[in-house]
């Protein structure tokens, strides 16, 4: 599975800003894609985009903050860099809580912006990798039988085979067999590995940063 080339999505209603951002991003050798409104972007956005989003907070129609919500809703996980003409604290806090990686005030210095873009792309890359790993683990977990899932749950809680057998009203031998299947299907090298996998599965949203 090869990582797609990241795209810097620029959404700004002001043509000057839009063009300037595109120009700046292009000059660093990165690919930029511009949209005048949030609606346009939502319509044209690919299924699982890689890269980041540079958003103007105040825009006609759907605002930057609204768009952020819409993207979450649509399961699109792009890190967002907000650019605002007048950054007030409540808006900033709201944006950051909603997962914005950076909040920049105009006029934006190019190094700040480009650093933020690079950081966002890296962030996106890691998040994507993490999401890919969790998806893989979930696929494996799907392969387990109900009995195996029960056993795995008790194993990662640190119970001994004997204790699990007693709890599930099975023989110790049977439990041992199920445990071996779980380790195999989950491709876990050790008990510690399995515990880590279980943790990832239980909290799929939070990336390991």
């Amino acid at each position: 599975m090869t990582a797609p080339k990241p795209i810097i999505f620029i959404v700004d209603d002001d043509p000057s800003i839009r063009l300037a951002l595109e120009n700046l991003v292009s000059s660093t050798g990165q690919q930029a894609e511009t949209h005048a409104t949030a609606q346009d972007f939502l319509r044209d956005c690919p299924r699982d985009p890689a890269g980041c989003l540079v958003l103007d907070v105040q825009m006609p129609g759907l605002s930057g903050l609204d768009l952020q919500g819409e993207l979450d809703h649509a399961g699109i996980h792009l890190p967002v860099i907000f650019i605002t003409g007048h950054g007030d604290i409540p808006t900033t806090v709201r944006a950051m809580k909603a997962g914005a990686v950076e909040f920049l005030t105009k006029p934006v210095s190019d190094s700040e912006l480009l650093a933020a873009i690079n950081q966002a792309i890296e962030h996106d890359r890691l998040a994507r990798a993490d999401r890919a790993e969790v998806a893989q683990l979930r696929d494996r977990h799907e392969q387990l039988t109900p009995k195996e899932r029960e056993v795995m749950e008790l194993v990662v809680q640190g119970l001994l085979n004997k204790q699990i057998a007693l709890k599930l009203n099975n023989s110790e031998i049977t439990i041992k067999q199920h445990r071996g299947k779980v380790m195999q299907k989950m491709r876990a090298d050790s008990l510690a590995d399995l515990v880590r996998m279980a943790e990832r599965l239980s909290s799929p949203g939070s990336p390991p940063m």
Binding site: S16, A20, S26, S27, P60, V108
Partner: protein, 678 residues
């Protein structure tokens, strides 16, 4: 000597005289005066025919009788002793020529006589002849003349009293009563005045025997007793016999005091009773005395009336003067020749002169610097007859005063003007305040412009920040394009072009804001209304975006250019848009929508309208919407609409508001196509 002998003797003597004085007898016969000859014993010897006529006796009744029969009782003794003394001593007890003595008529009445005596001797006997002239007619005329003279004096005194304006009413009446007593021989005279409301006559003056004003006659009900009846009936009551008069109630008193006659007259003015004058006398009243009283009654009545009117007038004058003096207004009355007739205290204060120095003078005497202006205004009022209001300036040592003076004509009952009334309010302070206010308004207009811009600060900052941010980014991009190996010159050039475009955009914004902030005097140019609207819309676009307002602009094609001050009108438009945006902030349940339209009405005016779908304007707010300092905004100054309206009105247009059908309000103004300097 017996009576018979005496008679014979007298006849014989008389006969002897007759013989000797035959020719004299002829004269005596024809004389109108009584000619009586007596002897030294005062026995009547001869009488002529006139004697019969004057004394009422026949000749036979008189001959041989003592002369004293023709004398009143009280003179008889004097006559006897007088003639006896004369016969003895030759000394006369009275003058013998033209002495006036009363005689006694057969009827018992006295007859005024003028008598002359002569003495002669015949045959050694002394005889006396008296010539008596009946002067009763002359006497009557003389008395009448004397009375008439006194009546004339009465008349004069009463007339003088009633025209004496300085005296009180009571003092005037006392003089009149006293004059009646003095000149009509009244025992006493009194004057009552009628109180019409209470129907009571009140004793106001009493002269003669009684001078007290209290007692039982002090108040007499109208219609009661003789005085009340005189007043009620408006008829005089006269009697020369109080003892037999029904209306005289206290006959014992009249008897005791010797009152013979009474005369009472109503005091009438134009058929109204104002009082009663009445007198008692201890003798009969002659017709001319009654006439005298009758003639002064109306004079007194008129006097009372005039006095009362005068008193009322004086009271009114005092009242008016008091009101005038306590007024803060400056009040004057001038005659039609411009002479001051009346001024109030404030007038004195303002001009710094006492009323004595002002009255009778003209403005030309007192205020030579300003008089011609005052005079022109006065003349206009006199000529047109209608009141005028003028601003007048008075230059004094203490500075200039400005007055707002209302002048009007005062007319008499017939409508003929006789004076000019002027009432002035000093407006020096107000004028100063007005001029200060105008300055403040100019300041406010400027301030408001700044404040409106302040409300749009974010918008303007955004407007400038956008191109500036783009310039910086494009500049950085250009450097990067150039730093590539090989440099990307095409993209670097593109970047430079973007920079120039954004630079231009920024400078346009700056220019617009500067023009907006500049306190430019109104300068009218021909404006393309649509272009001007778009400029303002451009300036506020970001503000609308920020407030999530959907803007629709509907401009009419082919609008004529209208004369106007671009900056001022932009200010109005900005104000209306800012207000609309503000009004819509409260809306959460629907899309905030702003509609800006232009159109032309009747080919005479261009209309610009800003319509929002906010909460609208309640009727209470609408009433003072355009008043300065009226605001519904917590941070608002409340000057925006007031100034906006004055700007539009200065352009000859109209600014008003209307409620929309569903939501919100439409603020709109018109601008005349043809310059209309209002």
């Amino acid at each position: 000597m017996s009576g018979a002998e005496k008679l014979i003797e007298s006849q014989q003597a008389g006969a002897a005289l007759r013989e000797s004085e035959e020719h004299y007898r002829a004269v005596a016969e024809a004389a109108t005066d009584a000619i009586i000859t007596i002897d030294s014993d005062s026995t009547i010897l001869i009488v002529n025919p006139a004697t019969e006529r004057i004394f009422g006796y026949s000749t036979e009744e008189m001959i041989g009788q003592p002369l004293t029969m023709l004398m009143p009782e009280y003179l008889r003794h004097l006559h006897k002793s007088g003639i006896t003394r004369y016969l003895e001593t030759g000394r006369k007890h009275i003058q013998w020529a033209a002495v006036q003595l009363p005689g006694l008529h057969k009827s018992g009445a006295e007859i005024p006589l003028e008598i002359s005596f002569a003495e002669f001797t015949n045959d050694g006997r002394r005889f006396f002849t008296g010539i008596a002239r009946d002067i009763s007619e002359r006497k009557r005329l003389q008395d009448k003349q004397a009375r008439l003279a006194r009546h004339a004096v009465l008349h004069a005194e009463v007339s003088a009293a009633v025209s004496e304006s300085e005296k009180s009413l009571r003092a005037m009446l006392e003089i009149c009563a006293a004059a009646v007593v003095r000149h009509l021989d009244a025992a006493f005279a009194r004057i009552w005045l009628l109180n019409e409301e209470q129907k009571v006559l009140k004793l106001e003056a009493s002269a003669g025997l009684y001078t007290n004003l209290d007692g039982q006659h002090a108040h007499i009900p109208l219609g009661s007793f003789k005085i009340g009846l005189i007043a009620a009936e408006q008829k005089p009551h006269l009697t020369n016999s109080v003892q037999s008069d029904d209306r005289v109630s206290d006959k014992d008193w009249a008897q005791r005091e010797g009152m013979i006659s009474f005369a009472g007259y109503p005091l009438l003015v134009e058929g109204r009773t104002v009082g009663v004058i009445a007198m008692f006398a201890q003798e009969s009243l002659e017709q001319d005395t009654i006439e005298a009283l009758e003639s002064v009654a109306p004079i007194i009545a008129q006097g009372i009336e005039r006095k009362r009117t005068q008193d009322t007038l004086r009271e009114t004058q005092r009242l008016i003067q008091a009101i005038f003096d306590n007024s803060s207004a400056v009040i004057h009355v001038k005659d039609l020749d411009g002479r001051f007739l009346l001024v109030n205290r404030k007038f004195e204060e303002v001009v710094g002169l006492k009323s004595q120095e002002i009255l009778g003078k003209t403005s030309f005497d007192l205020f030579p610097l300003n008089a011609s202006a005052y005079d022109a205004a006065d003349r206009e009022v006199i000529e047109t007859g209608s009141a005028s209001e003028t601003e007048e300036v008075l230059i004094t040592e203490r500075g200039n005063h400005i007055f707002l003076t209302t002048k009007s004509l005062l007319s008499d009952e017939s409508g003929k003007p006789y004076a000019l009334f002027g009432i002035s309010a000093e407006i020096t302070e107000r004028k100063k305040v007005e001029s200060d206010l105008r300055e403040i308004q100019a300041e406010l207009a400027h301030l408001n412009r700044v404040m409106t811009v302040g409300e749009l600060t974010a918008s303007i900052a955004h407007e400038i920040n956008q191109p500036l941010a783009a310039i910086v980014m494009n500049g950085n991009a250009a450097l990067r394009w150039l730093a590539l190996d090989p440099p990307n010159l095409a993209r670097a050039r593109d970047s430079a072009e973007l920079i120039i475009r954004d630079g231009d955009r920024a400078s346009h914004v700056i220019a617009r804001i500067r023009a907006l902030l500049k306190k430019a005097p109104p300068s009218k140019t021909l404006l393309d209304v649509n272009e001007f609207v778009l400029e303002v819309v451009d300036l506020t676009q970001s503000e609308m975006v920020r407030n999530r307002v959907r803007l629709r602009v509907e401009l009419a094609g082919d609008l004529p250019r209208v004369p106007g001050d671009r900056i001022q009108l932009q200010q109005v438009m900005l104000n209306l848009i800012a207000n609309a945006v503000e009004a819509m902030r409260a809306i959460q349940d629907r899309q905030r929508a702003l509609l800006i339209t232009t159109d032309i009405i009747d080919n005479t005016v261009v209309r610009l309208a800003v319509s929002d779908n906010g909460p609208g304007i309640d009727s209470q707010t609408a009433q003072h919407l355009f008043n300065a300092f009226s605001t519904t905004k917590p941070e608002g100054m409340g000057v925006g609409l007031a100034i906006s309206r004055s700007i539009i009105e200065a352009h000859g247009g109209r600014l008003w508001t209307e409620a929309n059908d569903e939501f919100g309000a439409t603020f709109q103004f018109t601008l005349p196509i043809v310059a209309n300097e209002s």
